[in-house]
């Protein structure tokens, strides 16, 4: 899947390997873009996991696919398609009035229908643009080839904006996420915050899709935060930890797909899965250790 003639070889000489990794400009750009995306997705993902809005994240990522395919069909950069569709879909989700309860769970059948329709539209646009059908893979499952300097800059500017918004609204958003009733009694504009958050989420999903593809966005959006929250319940540590894990996933994923010739989407998702598994095991082990130290009279047996 690489555009070079010679397949790069791992030498186990770390300095040489890293040097080799950045020999080509496309690889440098892949790392730049991946870094930006990892930070933004993990930061927003921390709130997504806390607010239990992964379903919204998934819907937005699926809607991004016809956006990207349509943009390419029209001869525009896929980047704009992702952003336009994800942000528009976020606004629709946020502004459609819904009953009491959280994150449109009751409308999941409707959303499921829309997801299927979005995928079908993406498929149609991709087929209409003849000769592009191969590109469907990279739209759905990710690619890091041919990221231009301009694209990196766009990702950086938009991502920095999204992150800045998140930092400004972070504390009230946390309050509203864990305790909406008290937060609104305190005068926090809970409804406005949830709209703003969904738009920021749309931006993050649009960014992450460009590296992981529409279907594997969760590797960067949800997994780092879910793993971090399993390891720690301190908000700041968890937030920073999620970003760190996101970077590990992205860098390892890119490096592995450079040396071992499998798609980047596969590698990032695999690394993410391994990290999640590790976090789950670690948290269970700590809990078991704590339980053992705190003798519980209700537990019977060995």
């Amino acid at each position: 899947m690489l555009a070079t003639d010679a397949t790069p070889q791992l030498t186990w000489d770390l300095a040489r390997d890293v040097h080799q990794l950045f020999e080509f400009h496309f690889m440098v750009n892949a790392f730049r873009a991946g870094t930006v995306v990892a930070v933004v997705a993990a930061a927003i993902g921390w709130f997504v996991v806390l607010r239990q809005q992964t379903f919204a994240g998934h819907t937005l990522s699926v809607v991004g696919f016809p956006g990207a395919a349509g943009a390419i069909w029209l001869g525009v950069s896929a980047t704009y398609g992702y952003f336009a569709f994800c942000i528009a879909a976020a606004l629709v989700i946020a502004l459609v009035p819904r009953g009491r309860g959280r994150a449109f769970s009751e409308e999941s059948a409707v959303i499921g229908t829309i997801q299927a329709f979005a995928l079908a539209c993406g498929f149609l646009f991709a087929s209409l643009y003849s000769g592009f059908l191969n590109g469907i893979d990279s739209l759905l499952f990710g690619s890091f080839l041919g990221i231009t300097d301009g694209q990196v800059l766009t990702l950086l500017v938009v991502g920095a904006g999204a992150l800045a918004v998140l930092i400004v609204i972070g504390r009230p958003l946390l309050f509203a996420s864990v305790d909406a009733d008290v937060a609104s009694a305190r005068g926090i504009p809970v409804r406005v915050l949830s709209v703003v958050f969904l738009v920021v989420l749309g931006v993050a999903v649009a960014e992450a899709s460009q590296i992981t593809g529409s279907l594997l966005v969760f590797a960067l959006l949800v997994v780092p935060a879910a793993a971090a929250q399993r390891i720690t319940s301190r908000p700041v540590v968890g937030f920073v930890g999620a970003i760190g894990l996101g970077l590990v996933i992205t860098w390892l994923g890119l490096g592995l797909s450079y040396y071992a010739d499998y798609p980047v989407g596969f590698w990032t998702t695999t690394v993410a899965f391994a990290i999640f598994l590790g976090a789950e095991i670690a948290s269970r082990a700590t809990r078991a250790a704590l339980a053992a130290r705190r003798p519980s009279p209700t537990v019977v047996g060995p």
Binding site: L50, Q52, I167, V168, I169, G170, R171, P172, L174, F175, V178, D179, D181, V182, A183, S184, A185, R186, G187, I188, Q229, R230, T232, S233, R234, P235, G238
Partner: protein, 281 residues
């Protein structure tokens, strides 16, 4: 309450309508500083709605509500509020200390920077945890705390900004009897020592009976207010509900209300013949 002391809550002829139905009307209520007041009544009579009216979260269809000298909703920064029945999702990975801290500065924009303000905030959170006796489990994820532990942490959160008025919606709900007694004692102690006025919604009056200055008994679309002895008797409650109600007192001083309808039987459209249900205070 003496006349020269300003009222913490002054409600006159209040009526609330939700979804085109009257929840209650003709409600008058005066609460003075430092008083411990219970809102009683069966499910669905509008006890929570009364707290929300005090917070200005539901509008009055008639009458007026003044809280801490201002129209309801304008003094909310001086009110600590604990909504009804919030057990946290067991998977929620936020510690008790963080929940308490949110009560202190959770509505500020931006992120907290390390420094003096941050140290002060941490010290205040420590004090609050000490006050409610939650220090031992404050660093556990709140979803893993028991109902009583969560309730104490939430009371600490509500107290974070030294409110003058504390609104507690069924804080004893889903607690076992010893915990009901100890949380009730805690709230009464805070009311006395921190000089906070407390408005507490309760399904069962007995755990708080010994601490009460006055009660608001909701039912039949209206309310009776007064001190516990005069309000909770057969005659008043029978008049309030328009159905025979018996109030029994056990030898230990517990109150048992017999025949109280569990769901509101009041229909405003059919109730024109009802007398003004308010019997003064």
């Amino acid at each position: 309450m003496t006349d020269d002391e300003p009222a913490v809550i002054r409600i006159r002829g209040a009526e609330v309508r939700l979804a085109h139905k009257t929840v209650w009307r003709h409600v008058d209520l005066d609460v003075g500083p430092g008083q411990f007041v219970a809102i009683l009544g069966p499910n669905g009579v509008g006890k929570s709605t009364l707290l929300k009216a005090v917070l200005g979260l539901v509008p009055l269809a008639a009458g007026t509500a003044e809280v801490l000298g201002l129209p309801a909703g304008s003094a909310n920064h001086e009110i600590g509020y604990l909504p009804q029945r919030r057990s946290f999702d067991p998977s929620l990975r936020i510690r008790g200390v963080d929940i308490v801290r949110l009560g202190l500065d959770g509505d500020r924009w931006g992120i907290p920077l390390p420094g003096r303000a941050s140290r002060d905030a941490r010290r205040r959170v420590g004090e609050l945890l000490e006050l409610v006796g939650a220090t031992a489990y404050a660093t556990r994820p709140i979803g893993e705390c028991s109902g009583g532990e969560q309730q104490r942490l939430l009371i600490a959160q509500a107290l974070a900004r030294r409110p003058r008025l504390l609104l507690l919606d069924e804080p004893l709900d889903s607690l076992d009897l010893p915990n009901q007694a100890s949380v009730a004692a805690l709230v009464a102690r805070i009311c006395r020592d921190e000089d906070v006025t407390v408005l507490i919604v309760a399904h069962d009056v007995n755990p708080i009976l010994g601490y009460l200055d006055r009660v608001v008994y909701l039912g039949g679309g209206g309310a009776i207010t007064g001190d516990p002895e005069t309000v909770i008797n057969s005659e008043n409650l029978t008049r309030l509900y328009g159905a025979p109600i018996e109030v029994l007192r056990t030898s230990t001083g517990r109150i048992v209300v017999v025949g109280q309808p569990e769901s509101p039987t009041y229909h405003p459209d059919l109730a024109h013949h009802h007398d003004h249900p308010h019997v003064g205070h």
